[in-house]
């Protein structure tokens, strides 16, 4: 830079500052540009997050509403089986009620098209209603029954009415029937309780997230019950007792490496060891929980060690000074002080496990399961897997179900992380 090592010293200093000043503008411009890149990259992340969340919410909020049709169901004598009401032909009763409302539909094919506007779950709704309070013969029940998912999509505006008939799943005739319902105020969107109370289904209007929530709950319970004690024990040993030798180093290398192993590899392990070797039942929260435990263990161990490290040595020395054994020092002084930090780490690990999908696919948790699981060895789906399954389904109505399921899952994750943050704030101690 300094090319003027001339004889004239007094002017030399001025020249250098000139050179510096000349370059200054350019350098400041560069500085500004660099700063801009930084802001842009943060803004890009923020914009993407906003884009993702809005598109999920925009796609999914409508799933919390479900189109229902008010159907007057006349109960005539003999329709309900007196001796065993459960075995009455509820499907037939619903069909006759539909026919009654549309007296001009007579042709067989048209009738089938007409019935397809109503969900096959309508018969179950009627059944539950009849079983709860048996109606007298001659009475007319006024029921809000579920509409088919195509009707639902039409009412929510995902299916356009003004496109040519061949491009919609409902034909013009069916649209006219729906218009009749609309004119009579017999069709409206109501809060979708089915979504929060039932398990999976092939029919979008009958599919719900509750089965997956229960499955996730059992899986997380297994994961928590195993990984919390084991993780803490491992962390305590490595941090407080382990001698500095090759074996300890080997354990540490293993833990650090396991934290970075792709999650699907844990699924392969679960498939080969737990399912094929030990013969444990497929698709169950028990196996899922164990696999996720192995996966989250490194996270919990690493967080717990950090929490133990944060406890100052003076605590240990004081306890040793009054005659505690080493294990007593840890169990009655260090551990209680480190526990909040450990719990925070565990919650974060659990949140990770709750969102994990890939290893569970390997151990058969992708099966189509309608029943709501009632225990650790019942076949179950978990929330992320349910999202994956719905995302794969071709029906348009499953798009909004998927987004809604994502919102539920994100809700749980946010709650867990918020809990972790609150715990950290509340119990964090600075020494």
């Amino acid at each position: 830079m300094n090319n003027s090592s001339t004889k004239n010293g007094s002017r030399n200093a001025g020249r250098t500052i000139d050179i510096v000043n000349k370059g200054l503008k350019r350098r400041y411009r560069k500085e500004k540009r660099f700063r801009l890149y930084g802001i842009l990259s943060i803004a890009a992340s923020a914009a993407f997050l906003a884009f993702l969340l809005t598109s999920i919410v925009m796609n999914g909020y409508s799933a919390f509403l479900q189109t229902c049709i008010r159907l007057d169901v006349p109960i005539e004598a003999g329709m309900i089986d007196e001796s065993n009401p459960k075995r009455s032909d509820f499907q037939g009763i619903i069909k006759s009620a539909i026919r009654e409302y549309y007296p001009d539909v007579t042709e067989r094919r048209e009738k089938r098209e007409l019935y397809s506007l109503f969900s096959s779950g309508a018969a179950y709704q009627l059944r539950n209603n009849v079983l709860d309070n048996p109606p007298e013969a001659g009475a007319t029940l006024s029921l809000w029954v579920l509409a088919d998912d195509d009707v639902d999509m039409l009412m929510k505006g995902h299916m356009k009415r003004d496109v040519p008939e061949s491009e919609r799943r409902l034909n013009d005739r069916q649209l006219r029937w729906i218009e009749k319902l609309e004119n009579d105020d017999r069709i409206e969107k109501r809060f979708n309780t089915t979504f929060f109370t039932s398990g999976d289904s092939r029919e979008p209007e009958l599919a719900g997230i509750w089965g997956a929530v229960r499955g996730s709950f059992y899986t997380m319970l297994v994961t928590l019950a195993l990984s919390f004690p084991i993780g803490i024990a491992a962390a305590v040993y490595l941090e407080e007792f382990a001698p500095k030798n090759l074996a300890t180093d080997f354990i540490e290398v293993n833990i650090n490496n396991l934290a970075a192993v792709p999650s699907i590899v844990f699924g392969l392990l679960g498939l080969a060891v737990f399912l094929n070797f030990f013969g444990m039942p497929r698709s169950t929260p028990l196996v899922g929980g164990i696999v996720l435990m192995l996966m989250t263990l490194p996270t919990i161990i690493i967080a717990s060690r950090a929490a133990l490290k944060a406890v100052p040595p003076s605590i240990r020395e004081a306890a040793l000074g009054v005659g505690s054994s080493k294990l007593q020092v840890v169990s009655s002084h260090v551990l209680p002080l480190a526990l909040p930090g450990m719990l925070t780490g565990t919650i974060i690990g659990m949140a990770q496990a709750l969102g994990e999908t890939a290893p569970l696919l390997m151990i058969g948790m992708v099966a189509f399961i309608v029943d709501i699981p009632g225990g650790f060895t019942d076949p179950a789906a978990v929330m992320p897997v349910q999202i994956y399954l719905w995302a794969d389904s071709p029906e348009r109505a499953f798009v909004e179900k998927t987004s809604a399921a994502i919102m539920v899952l994100l809700g749980f994750l946010i709650a867990m992380n918020a809990l972790a943050v609150v715990m950290r704030k509340k119990f964090e101690r600075r020494w």
Binding site: L52, L268, L269, Y388
Partner: protein
Amino acid sequence: MSPLLLLLLLLVLSVAGYIMGQQKALGLARKTGGTRNLHSLPVYYGALTALWCCLPAFFMFLFWIAFEQSIITGLMAADLPEEALALPAARLNVLINDIQSLAGGNIVSGEVTPLMQKAASHYLSLKGIGQMITSVIVLVAAVTGMLLVHGRIRPDMRARNQVENAFMGLLVVCSTIAIFTTIGIVLSILYEAVRFFQQIPVTDFLFGLEWSPQMAIREDQVGSSGAFGAVPVFVGTILISAIAMFVAAPVGLLSAIYLSEYADRRLRAVAKPLLEILAGIPTVVYGFFAALVVAPLIRNSGAQIGLDVSSESALAAGLVMGIMIIPFVSSLSDDVINAVPQSLRDGAYSVGATRSETIKHVLVPAALPGIVGGLLLAVSRAIGETMIVVMAAGLSANMTANPLQAVTTVTVQIVTLLVGDQEFDSPKTLAAFALGLVLFIGTLFLNIIALTVVRKYRERYE
């Protein structure tokens, strides 16, 4: 007795053992004049009794749980009539599965024959006998252990040391689980992969250029020649990971630099949680987003400028994966940049460098090993990422470097090969484990390099 009930009973017995041990110690203390004459505090005598009560019994229980299924199935299969045992192995397996589901009250794949009925009831009775024997053995072991220790409690018994040794052992066992997990991963994947390589030569797998793992069900089927050349799969993996890193590396690094060098506390208080949220979103959500929003977006904008973009383009999956990795890169680089001593910055400022010059010429070179290590970890993350590519990338193994075409990755292939019906003797299923082996070794290699580099780097400035 059901396993859960047995465990509960074991717990109750242990509590009883604890109380008994403690009471006996207290009694001894009273006789000899105060607890100070005991070697240990009374709780340790209780704890020792409880430990002897539950630990041996619990291990027996675990052993049984682990092998129950295989032992009982083996016994039941051995007792099947001749005509069933003469069936081919695959049919026999189906039969055994059917019998088990029949016994469990589940749906059976075929018709229920009297043979199956009989076998199922035999299975159930075997299971009952097994459970009974276990319950008896476990409970006897528990009570014996408890009484044995209880009888030996003396004032000079070193109860505390024994309890502490037991706990120490427990801690050691817990900390070695990581090792066992690694060994389990290696052995299980290696075992199946070796079986695969017995059928398909290693060189064909590693260097073959065609991947179509469909195996024929019938001999004469069209397109029945399964080809297991994995190079196109590797190429696809590398392509998608490269796109992801192309997004994540600059954005992640620049955000980390900005946040640690420029941002004031308010911006940091907003931006850091924001990145954490991005990191906390499950990958299945990213996958859904990539398939539903990003891929159509890219395809439509490509169509507008006259480009033919596949609807499962590598670009869509790679872009979204890159965004997923941004927080990972940025938090790792953040740690690394913060570890650079302040004196280096001050030195640069003092000779008149601007902030960006300090960063470019001093900070980044100083932090380079750490940054490279972090990027390597991110690459390993990208290679192992599954859900985004399963949902947004394709299945066909094209060998191309064109990001607008569909490619497939190692993880996608593992998932497609293993989800659904599995036969553990066809190369199709075993190929997944061979791919898994490559994935594991590849990421292991990257991780070890990265972790060593990062550790060395940290030690330099500590």
